[in-house]
Symmetry: C2
Subunit: 587 residues, 2 copies
């Protein structure tokens, strides 16, 4: 009910004792001498959380204010101010990471607890890939700066260099330290991790803003070309000529790399946030003993449908982007095509999710309520990031009912929007239930079941915290598979020692069919979510082009809604791919 | 580590058993027959939470889309559409509340568990007062409708009537059922409570929008009168003449009542959210045994300074509102005056909060980590609602540094904004630590200590769930003081049975001085927060008038920021008053 660390009780007794033996005037003097010790020593955990949380939030808000200043083109706040601020934050984070790694290095011999749920190899691998693309982006930025060196601020050259160093250091940190459960210098480390979380969030915001501005300028240019409106396009082109021949190539390629950079930063901040939540936690070793299988047996319908969806998506993307810039008729038919494609996709996804939920209902299983900050965060992020897209959909629905114009995609827009709401509703339920369900125990007589806890505690005390940039997970696969990387897969054993289940061969058969159906569903949903990420990420955004919502809400308000909702939706799709992959491995 | 309800394990065994004894084809048939039972029966708690949470969020988003449509004056979405939607939601909530009360009435004899932390008499009393002012507002609205009956939509007449009924029913619900821990029909009740939460949130949003629009129109009128800009003022006046003589009186008085109505709805939704969190919870009776004292001994400095602050605030408000509408010089001096006043207030508040935190550091005490959804929500709301005001402050700071104009309040604005950030930072820390600190145990030999648990369990089983609108808390004070209203105060006993403290008379003396200082601080902060609520609530908003931020961010963006930040800030002030009152009673 009420938890006390031993330290707390000791201190409590000490202070109460000393305060009771001194008079009230001496007391006041003592207060301030004790203060210093108290501040550095056992600062209450709740306070440290609030302190660092408030610090991080304020960092982001400063960045937000700068971004808003940049968005208003008449103001004297320019991009270089934001970039300087971001550079400072990144340098601070680099210093903290160096300090952290050095401290860990010194404590090599003491055992560091790890939260195995914190992340998986797959996620870190994916992030490494995204980081590589970010590095290419930095290279392009440096190239761009070299070309315009004479007339742009030096910050535009410093920023990509620091960003590249930051990216490399952070990926290293992700591979070797993200699972650490910090137990020393807790208050200071909380600030460090929080700083890292919000630095990444700020870089995400800044990426989202650049991307939105670029898209909006493109959109306005397109509208002007069609003779619609006389919109002013804000250019941030430098005043001098490029000294190399590659500037325009650099600046146009940049925008194809933005989506990856954006996803990289938001994912890293989510992982770091889990690390922050883990600070000072006592890890429950029993719940750590899980292995997941990436078995592909029986996978047929899911991959076929999924690849079909992916292929058609790429087709739709190409057709949409080429057609929407042409005549009014072509434009309308491209938008109609998009909605019909969307409706088909969403119906498939809704059905798949509903079948998954029905299987769960038929096969009742208690939910796992053990503490797991990573899973908790996954749930909250799925829910939170759905809001953007739901809001967009409800706006579309209101617009459909209130509009007076009657384009051909009037009703398809309505159905599409309703399905978007329904699909996220069902998919969230499916993912969250999948993540919270306890795993069925097959092969209960597995000899590793008893051996595992022992292996864990021994080897994790030996696990070297830092050995240079070598992929330790694959270094000594036999050992790390069970210990550090013990969510890694070298078998399909799966156990749970909590609930006594009737075991035997009879249970295996029906369970396997259900499991195969669920695996197919998860695979199909992964491919569909990737498809629905690709479309807006690479410029297929009919919400800008269809004109219905703009008529109801006005260009300004509707653009603001889209600038808020589309990045959230992109994050939702990517995040649900990661979660569904976890589901795929669990079922 | 892993919790199971007995029910879960039973079901698990049942299904696994039946599934293991049937072949895979029969299995599929059985799935669907079992489904119905499963859906109605033991739907997993996590799923029910997500289902109802998603439902509520979507309700609010529909409302948000309608509000946005209304904000764009060219669209065909009008206020009557929003009011119809809100009316439907209120009627649904009324039906649910009736159903809930009837079910509870039938279960009169079974014991209903209560969460005594859920709310206090003071908060409910305050809410009743706010509800009364809301009822007056409804009366004015009905009067307004009668005057313009011939040319306005009937919805404008139906809405206030339903709102009045809704308010009365909801206050009744707050007094007698808000502390209930629901244990039957959990999934259905989750939807009901969530519906109530989001209905109130929607009414809050709608109130905020009306208020912001009214203020903005006033502001534009003022600017036009000063010859600044040629801004169009959007009127929503009806097309016909008023048939009674009181229409203009009604419509102008309405805006003085809006702040109260707005606070009423957001507070109720917070209380209902705690009720939602409590559904299906197992209440820990030991942590329920607390009594709080509203002792006023030694209260001198706090009230004196507090009343001084309140009096000067009212003076400032009157001077500001009269001066700001006059000449340019008067306007500038009014704004300067506001900032100087604000700086003095905030320095006092920062110092008070810092002294409180220092006292806590000197008097170390472990934090209470027992589960308490109400306190958890308080913390999150304080933190979350600070964001609005922080963002506004950082925008001001950016504006001060980037502006080229140099009004007299240039630097006072900067200092004021920095102090706002600091003050919220310190105050949040102080409030949260106060709420989480375990209470010192004085009078350990109190005979009630042992008797209390028994009394609690007996009387709470006798507590009548519904006896008509009588204030049961004061009905039988001797009994309810310990049971239903056992956070009520009829003594100053305070105990904590967890940590063994050295007890005796020696401890009392210094502890009392510190306690008196803390009580004074809490009282002072309450008065200061009320002052800082009064100013923006009644129209003293220099952020609109000073012109600095507008220059940097543009009128549109800056107005949008203020429309988001000011309501959040108002909520923050009110909420911190409620929390500080709790602190005042605890220390």
């Amino acid at each position: 009910m009420v938890e006390h660390s031993g330290l707390d009780i000791m201190c409590l007794n000490k202070y109460c004792h000393s305060s009771s033996s001194s008079s009230s005037s001496e007391q006041d003097k003592k207060i301030f001498t004790k203060l210093k010790f108290n501040m550095s020593g056992d600062y209450p955990k709740k306070n440290a959380e609030i302190l660092s949380g408030q610090y991080g939030t304020n960092l982001l808000l400063i960045g937000g204010a700068l971004i808003m200043g940049i968005a208003h083109h008449d103001s004297s706040v320019k991009e270089k101010h934001l970039l300087s601020f971001a550079t400072c934050l990144m340098i601070l984070q680099l210093i903290w990471m160096m300090w952290y790694i050095m401290v860990r290095d010194r404590q090599k011999n003491t055992r560091t607890e790890k939260d195995v749920h914190a992340t998986t190899c797959w996620i870190r691998g994916g992030l490494t890939l995204l980081a590589l693309l970010s590095l290419i982006m930095d290279a392009f930025r440096i190239g761009y700066y070299v070309g315009y060196q004479s007339c742009v601020s030096a910050v535009l050259g410093v920023y990509p260099v620091i960003h590249a160093i930051h990216t490399i250091a952070q990926v290293h940190f992700l591979w070797f330290h993200i699972k650490d459960v910090i137990k020393s210098f807790e208050t200071f480390e909380r600030f460090g991790v929080m700083h890292a979380v919000f630095t990444n969030l700020l870089l995400w915001c800044s990426g989202v803003m650049s991307e939105a501005e670029h898209f909006l300028n493109n959109h306005k240019r397109r509208l002007s070309a069609l003779g619609y409106e006389n919109l002013t396009i804000e250019h941030s082109e430098p005043d001098c000529n490029c000294t190399t021949s590659t500037c325009s190539m650099f600046s146009s390629s940049l925008y194809y790399l933005y989506p990856f950079n954006i996803e990289y930063h938001i994912f890293v901040s989510a992982l770091l946030f889990v690390m922050w939540k883990n600070i000072g936690r006592t890890i429950d070793h029993l719940s750590n003993q899980k292995k997941l299988a990436t078995k592909t047996k029986g996978l047929t319908v899911g991959p076929i449908l999924g690849l079909l969806a992916l292929a058609s998506t790429i087709g739709i993307l190409v057709v949409y982007i080429t057609h929407v810039e042409q005549s009014f008729q072509m434009r309308q038919s491209a938008i109609s095509m998009f909605y019909i494609y969307g409706i088909v996709m969403l119906v498939v996804m809704c059905s798949a999710g509903a079948v998954g939920l029905l299987i769960y209902r038929a096969n009742h299983m208690p939910l796992d309520t053990s503490k797991n900050p990573s899973r908790q965060l996954d749930t909250e992020l799925l829910f939170g990031s759905s809001i953007g897209s739901w809001f967009m959909s409800w706006c579309s629905i209101v617009a459909v009912f209130s509009t007076t114009s009657n384009p051909p995609y009037h009703w398809t827009n309505l159905i599409y929007s309703l399905l978007i709401v329904l699909e996220k509703y069902i998919q969230n339920l499916f993912i969250i239930e999948s993540l919270y369900r306890q795993q069925e125990n097959r092969e209960r007589e597995d000899p590793e079941l008893l051996a595992a806890p022992e292996i864990f505690s021994v080897t994790s005390s030996l696990a070297p915290p830092y050995n240079g940039i070598i992929n330790q997970a694959y270094d000594t696969p036999d050992r790390t598979c069970v210990t550090m990387e013990n969510e890694q897969v070298y078998g399909c054993t799966r156990k749970h020692s909590e609930v006594p289940l009737p075991v035997g061969n009879k249970i295996k058969e029906p369970s396997n069919i259900k499991r195969q159906v669920l695996k197919n569903i998860a695979f199909l949903l992964i491919m569909c979510n990737i498809s629905l990420w690709i479309l807006p990420a690479f410029g297929c955004r009919p919400q800008y082009d269809n004109g219905l919502e703009q008529e109801t809400f006005g260009f300004g308000i509707w653009t603001a809604v889209l600038n808020f909702a589309i990045p959230l939706n992109l994050f939702y799709r990517m995040h649900s791919v990661a979660s569904l992959f976890e589901v795929f491995r669990r079922v």
